[in-house]
Symmetry: C2
């Protein structure tokens, strides 16, 4: 396959045509964009071909969707409402234009559902592999949710099931491919449902805003490198420890076929979840439990440092802070 060689101006035109109605004061096409005055939370996260995905198993729309989604969950973890983003694309010569167009279409579809628009970016050629870096802006609603404000006694919640993305990645590494990614109609069953989940994390936007706007969460983090390692980061920043109830962990039903040991491994140490992990003051416990969000209480923050997994029989097991490291994969 060889590229049809869109030039830089043609890519800028293509991207501009996808996000015509940006509410930015100055959008794509100048030296910089200008955003409406506000207090912005800003996050940036990149996906790299050969590191985060392979074109051989990742449909381009799926990659575009995920590239934006990983940023959306970071912003939700701050309690910010997303509004604008920048796209940086470094495009290798041997990648067909159609793949890059698919990536942009995948971003476009998710951006419409989430009410955000692209207002700028940067284009470059790449010596090897597609690089997609997104910078996402959102307005802070109430006080930003930090990792560092958790207190001993807070209940710990996660906002979705755990383990499926790690199992999907395992399948991809073993030769599985997702044949198609339809932004509107996700696969309803079978292996494709599992593989699809890798690229399509559930939206955390409304939950993030709910937790920040009413001061319900004391602290929050996006689970992206693994439940235990991200919980460890939260605990370390807050100067506390955590006790997790093993029986409360929201194991994804898609892990049904796995052995209990493999299941637990995926749930505790798998990455790419893009769900929120947050602390809740006991006074707000019922408010969170009675909300319509698919949240699950998994334990509590405690004074004693370290993370302890409590089995139904009362056994305590200390968990090491291991998980996904971006230089160890």
């Amino acid at each position: 396959m060889s590229r049809s060689f869109r030039d830089e101006a043609s890519w800028v035109k293509f991207i501009s045509s996808r996000w015509r109605n940006s509410r930015a004061d100055v959008s794509i096409g100048d030296d910089a964009c200008v955003l409406p005055a506000a207090s912005y939370a800003v996050t940036t996260d990149a996906l790299l071909e050969g590191v985060d995905f392979m074109t051989s198993w990742a449909p381009p729309r799926a990659v575009g969707c995920k590239a934006l989604a990983v940023n959306l969950s970071d912003l939700a973890a701050m309690g910010a409402s997303p509004s604008f983003f920048l796209i940086t694309l470094c495009i290798p010569e041997d990648l067909p234009d159609s793949y890059v167009e698919g990536v942009i279409e995948g971003m476009k579809e998710l951006s419409e559902r989430e009410g955000v628009s692209c207002c700028g970016g940067d284009l470059s050629s790449s010596r090897s592999g597609l690089v997609i870096s997104i910078t996402l802006f959102g307005e802070v609603v109430g006080e930003p949710l930090l990792r560092s404000d958790g207190r001993a006694g807070d209940y710990l919640f996660v906002s979705g099931t755990l383990g499926a993305p790690a199992e999907a990645l395992h399948s991809f590494m073993s030769g599985a491919k997702l044949p198609v990614f339809d932004s509107a109609i996700p696969p309803v069953s079978g292996e494709d449902k599992l593989l699809d989940r890798f690229f399509r994390p559930p939206s955390q936007r409304e939950l993030g805003v709910f937790l920040a706007e009413y001061g319900i969460a004391t602290c929050a983090i996006d689970v992206s490198d693994g439940f235990v390692v991200d919980l460890h980061r939260l605990c370390e920043a807050s100067g506390v420890g955590a006790e997790i109830e093993k029986a409360s962990l929201p194991v994804d039903p898609l892990l049904e076929g796995l052995s209990p040991a493999d299941r637990l491994k995926r749930v505790l140490y798998g990455g790419e979840e893009q769900v929120l992990l947050f602390g809740v003051d006991p006074a707000y416990l019922e408010r969170v439990r009675s909300s319509s969000f698919p949240v699950r209480c998994v334990g509590r923050l405690v004074k004693r440092p370290g993370i302890v997994l409590v089995s139904p029989d009362g056994r305590h097991e200390k968990l090491a802070a291991k998980g996904f490291d971006h230089f160890d994969c």
Copy 2:
């Protein structure tokens, strides 16, 4: 050379230690940073090893300096005063940590001089080649300077000499190396002075703010892909043409040894200048000329589309809009 393998947490710590006193409300170390409320202009620009530089001829501090500088000139071209930036680094396994540390130190040195601080970013491994992407924020002073507000009759100015970076790149491609990059003491003469200029564009910050704050410039663009191609972009966005006085072009004295034809080629079509090209209403002509900025009037915007080079003997030559394309290098 093999890396000493800093892990992700260690890089975050290293970067945090370099920008401790950020004025951001939330800085490095959470899921997103939070900026003080304002109307921000935002730009993003990436440098890639193998595309924009080679580690064989580019000292790491020079690369870090340039990675930030290309963003600073984009923001100056909007008339915005820079304040915060995000760093995305994609680090290949075979690159020594010391090179990456040098890149960060180079950024740090320039950031101190320009009064900006890093408040977040993203780290990843890279399959091939170092990728450095920066997103820079600045507050808009007065009305933002756009490419699209130029009018026929405006005087055209450039804010520095032209041609040296293109000649430096030519030298690098022919085997030249810059042995060292000292942020505080630039080389004063010889080939190293030329090579150094490639990485050390003059600061445009104060000029950009001056032009926007008092409504002096009607339009502006950062010259990064070549004088003619960027002038063409400015003209196209403003719906005008331009007449350039050949004798007024600010040829860099470092091009002295070149033939007149090569010199003109570098000045008109060389990229990487990172100086401003801007339009000035005749009413403000003297104000600009009498300012302390090293600006040069090179011609005027005219009604008739296209760019015309006017020789001292009155000959008119139409210039094609060619220059650096990021997919044609």
